[in-house]
């Protein structure tokens, strides 16, 4: 059964529209709602949870209408799990009482608490600790256990890892999504971190300006972005102008030389989304390869390096990811070319804002 269906949901704060007709379908698994801050993703989550009432649209959870034709079900009757930022554990209750909070009195004494602790991969002896005695990652897992204990069909996670430090974030993220999948609930993970969204979710919904630009699998969102905004938001692609000629619909001529395109295009101007890992820097000796560029700066990461260059002819700025063995000197001249097929858009396609 479809875990969540959102149709045409709109909402404004005063005269500022925040959601402009949002549609989203979640069958099962974990869906990441990805967007920069202020794009409306947390507002959408609060509408689904029932804390906000949309001006228009419907919300259906596991086949039950939660918002339709002006009737809204209050949050407490929705049966949706909710994990806010930083967990928000009840500070006056221990771990067991937090997890049992949403259960009937008779269920609290049973084995549910132990099962939930096991589900979120925490030791059973944590049950009688208080929230202030737990680490940030443990608090997040207990918050998830609390949300999952009443067996919801849907659980909402509002940037649950943003307060954790980098190492803990990845580990906690994996454990949390494992637990959501094991529980059988569908999960919605709101995040502004594209790495988190791409690595943890089964489906990524890219939000911008109060609506979704693309809802697809992580690979599809990355490799076949629906528009230039998605392309430049995910993977920080650089948009470069080019021209498709009549005889060769599968490639474009650009300041970086001839670039192979992922799809065929009609003849005329296009904009090519070039990802940093597709930009190859070679020495200036070989004029047959690519455009002359000047190296502006280098960020060395050990396993590789990110090099920012300026195309001499056009002034375009490009980012190249190069292996750590072949890093050019800052200020020197090199040549850049594009390796592998790139995504291109018609020039009138929406420009990134």
């Amino acid at each position: 059964m479809t875990a969540l269906r959102v149709d045409g949901v709109s909402l404004s704060y005063g005269d500022r529209p925040v959601l402009r007709g949002v549609d989203l379908t979640v069958e099962s698994g974990v869906t990441a709602v990805l967007g920069s801050s202020g794009c409306g993703k947390t507002t959408l989550l609060r509408v689904v949870a029932g804390f906000l009432k949309p001006a228009a649209g419907t919300v259906t959870v596991a086949g039950t209408a939660m918002v339709s034709r002006g009737r809204t079900v209050p949050p407490r009757r929705r049966g949706i799990g909710y994990v806010p930022q930083e967990g928000a554990l009840f500070p006056h209750l221990d771990v067991a009482a937090n997890i049992g909070f949403g259960l009937l009195r008779s269920e609290r004494r049973g084995s549910v608490v132990a099962e939930m602790l096991e589900l979120v991969e925490l030791p059973a002896d944590l049950a009688h600790r208080h929230p202030h005695q737990l680490s940030g990652g443990q608090q997040q897992r207990v918050a998830l256990a609390r949300a999952l204990a009443p067996r919801p069909a849907l659980v909402l996670l509002d940037e649950p890892f943003s307060s954790l430090d980098a190492g803990l974030r990845e580990e906690t993220g994996r454990a949390v999504t494992r637990a959501v999948r094991a529980s059988g609930a569908a999960g919605i993970l709101v995040t502004h971190d594209q790495g988190e969204a791409l690595s943890l979710a089964d489906q990524v919904a890219v939000m911008d300006g109060g609506r979704f630009r693309q809802v697809a699998t992580p690979a599809e969102v990355y490799l076949s972005p629906a528009d230039p905004v998605v392309a430049s938001f995910i993977g920080h692609a650089t948009l470069v102008g080019g021209v498709v000629t009549a005889g060769a619909p599968g490639s474009a001529t650009s300041p970086l030389g001839v670039v192979a395109l992922r799809d065929h295009h009609a003849p005329g101007a296009v904009r090519i989304a070039v990802r940093s890992e597709q930009v190859q820097l070679v020495s200036d000796d070989d004029p047959a390869h690519g455009a002359r560029v000047r190296v502006l700066d280098v960020s060395f990461f050990g396993h590789d390096a990110t090099v920012r260059v300026r195309v001499e002819e056009t002034g375009d700025l490009l980012t190249a990811r190069t292996p750590s063995g072949t890093i050019p000197e800052v200020g020197s001249i090199a040549r850049a070319r594009v390796v592998g097929p790139a995504v291109a858009f018609a020039p009138d396609d929406q420009t990134p804002s």
Binding site: G14, R16, P75, R76, Y82, Q85, A88, F101, R146, P150
Partner: protein, 518 residues
């Protein structure tokens, strides 16, 4: 009517406030505006010629000069004592360490008028300007000490480490880094001292040091001279407002923000080395003057007075009346603070801010002005209320509501709305969420609020003298009857009971400063 911030709900703010909540908040705010309204109204009500004639008399000039120099010297000495003690206790390895913290807070448990009585009954030398400055500073320096300790504790120690790495010694880094950083807390404490000095009646009357406040009560009590008392009250309120404005202006340009997050560490302590004994001796002398002198004097009079005139029955009645008034007053003030604090925390907006600010105006009103205002207003418009316990309790609530609002507000912040959201997503209705989540979290804070206001009520002298019904004796007024009649021995048991009653609140304040929950 609804409270809503213009740019849509910021994180944490929630929808619209309900009408009953707003009405409750407005009623509380209106009650708090009675004293200020009374002063403004009576200032416009007087014939201007007579008022000017009265105010330019040399006697008034003398009162203004006395009040001003006491205000300046007392505040400066309190700041010097408070900041010095706070720095020694919090930031140095002074022998005795944190034990001093309790000792430094303890003078708060001795009401200023008891302290004045203890000193006067020991030596008449304090019945002078330097004496008044000394005794008042010994009573009120903890009002600077406490916020300064709290600010020093919150101060990021890496600031001083950076100063040291830039070549500053402990003394220059204190002057250039620490002092500017803690200055808002010190200013806040100095403001409190100033307001207390302006409002003080009992101690200054015993010290035979006439100020505006003592003159107001004399005019009122001896001559029943309403217009004169009212005019002087207006002048006193102007003093208070000037003080508030001065503090605001001094603080306004200082912005203190902490950059970056992370867990704060304990600061490294300054090694006093050979100066350690001198530092400990300094704290010791302060403790001796502020604590030992009043307690020894009290003990002496207790022993001497016990043989002659200890009426246990009267003392017990006064204690019973005091505790009853205190608990009821504390409870009413806390209940009145709830809508104000709830609006301020959960429904931020201009109307909530206005309501909260209005409740704070009373904190600048000396007890004597609140008392006079309620007496005048009740006689003119609700005569049935005059000389009743209801009016007395109303006076206590208006006087001490700011304390209740501050503690209720900080405790409501312990229960952020997100906890309500989670509870509702787990199947709780609004009232269930309140009972299962909000109430358990805020109950200790509400209890602390009741306790703080109760203890303030139990040692309040000026407003009680003006407002209590004839025949009602509290510990403070019972003490006052004897002490002002130089019956020092008879006053001692009342004084001791007052001190004992004040110990819990003092302990609570000291603990709260150290950053543990109340």
């Amino acid at each position: 009517m609804a409270v809503r911030s213009p740019a849509g709900p910021p994180p944490g703010a929630r929808g619209t406030a309900s009408v009953p909540l707003l009405v409750a908040g407005l009623v509380v705010a209106a009650a708090c505006l009675v004293p200020l309204g009374y002063v403004v109204w009576s200032a416009t009500d007087q014939p201007p010629g007579e008022a000017v004639d009265f105010l330019v008399r040399p006697r008034i000039g003398e009162l203004l000069w006395n009040t001003t120099r006491l205000l300046v010297a007392g505040t400066l000495l309190s700041v010097a004592l408070g900041v010095g003690a706070a720095w020694l206790v919090e930031r140095t390895d002074v022998p005795g360490g944190r034990l001093w913290h309790g000792v430094m807070c303890a003078p708060l448990a001795v009401p200023a008028f008891v302290n004045g009585y203890a000193w006067v009954s020991t030596t008449h030398a304090v019945q002078s300007f330097p004496g008044a400055v000394l005794v008042m500073s010994l009573s009120y320096y903890p009002l600077v000490y406490l916020p300064t300790v709290a600010a020093l504790r919150r101060l990021d120690p890496s600031l001083e480490e950076v100063a040291a790495s830039l070549g500053h010694g402990p003394w220059t880094s204190f002057l250039r880094i620490v002092l500017p950083a803690i200055s808002p807390a010190v200013l806040g404490g100095a403001l409190l001292v100033g307001l207390h000095l302006l409002a003080e009646y009992g101690a200054l009357q015993l010290l035979n040091y006439p100020t505006l406040t003592t003159a107001i009560l004399q005019q009122y009590a001896s001559a029943f001279n309403g217009p004169a008392a009212t005019l002087l009250a207006g002048v006193l309120v102007v003093f208070c407002l000037l003080l508030l404005g001065l503090e605001l202006a001094l603080r306004g340009r200082r912005r203190r923000s902490r950059v970056g997050g992370g867990a704060s560490r304990a600061a490294t302590q300054v090694q006093l080395g050979r100066r350690a004994p001198a530092a400990a001796a300094g704290l010791g002398v302060l403790a001796l003057l502020a604590l030992a002198v009043p307690l020894v004097s009290l003990g002496r009079w207790l022993l001497r007075g016990a043989s002659t005139s200890l009426d246990l029955g009267a003392l017990a009645t006064a204690a019973g009346t005091t505790v009853g008034l205190a608990v009821v007053g504390g409870a009413i003030a806390t209940v009145a603070a709830l809508p104000v604090a709830w609006l301020a925390v959960r429904h931020r907006g201009w109307l909530s801010t206005v309501i909260e600010r209005f409740t704070y105006t009373a904190s600048a009103m000396p007890g004597i002005v609140v008392g006079l205002a309620l007496v005048t207003v009740s006689i003119r418009s609700v005569p049935a209320l005059y000389q009743t316990v209801v009016l007395l309790l109303l006076g206590y609530v208006v006087l001490f509501l700011p304390r209740a609002v501050v503690s209720v507000r900080s405790t409501l912040e312990l229960a952020p709305p997100v906890l309500d959201d989670v509870a509702r997503s787990l199947g709780c209705s609004g009232p269930q969420a309140t009972v299962r989540v909000t109430l358990p979290l805020v109950a200790p804070g509400l209890a602390a609020s009741v306790a703080l206001v109760s203890l303030a009520v139990s040692t309040e002298l000026t407003a009680t003298l003006l407002l209590s019904p004839t025949g009602t004796t509290t510990l403070a007024t019972g003490f006052w009857q004897d002490a002002s009649a130089v019956a020092y021995g008879a006053a001692a048991p009342y004084a001791l009971t007052l001190v004992v009653l004040s110990v819990p609140a003092t302990w609570l304040l000291g603990r709260m400063t150290l950053g543990r929950s109340a």
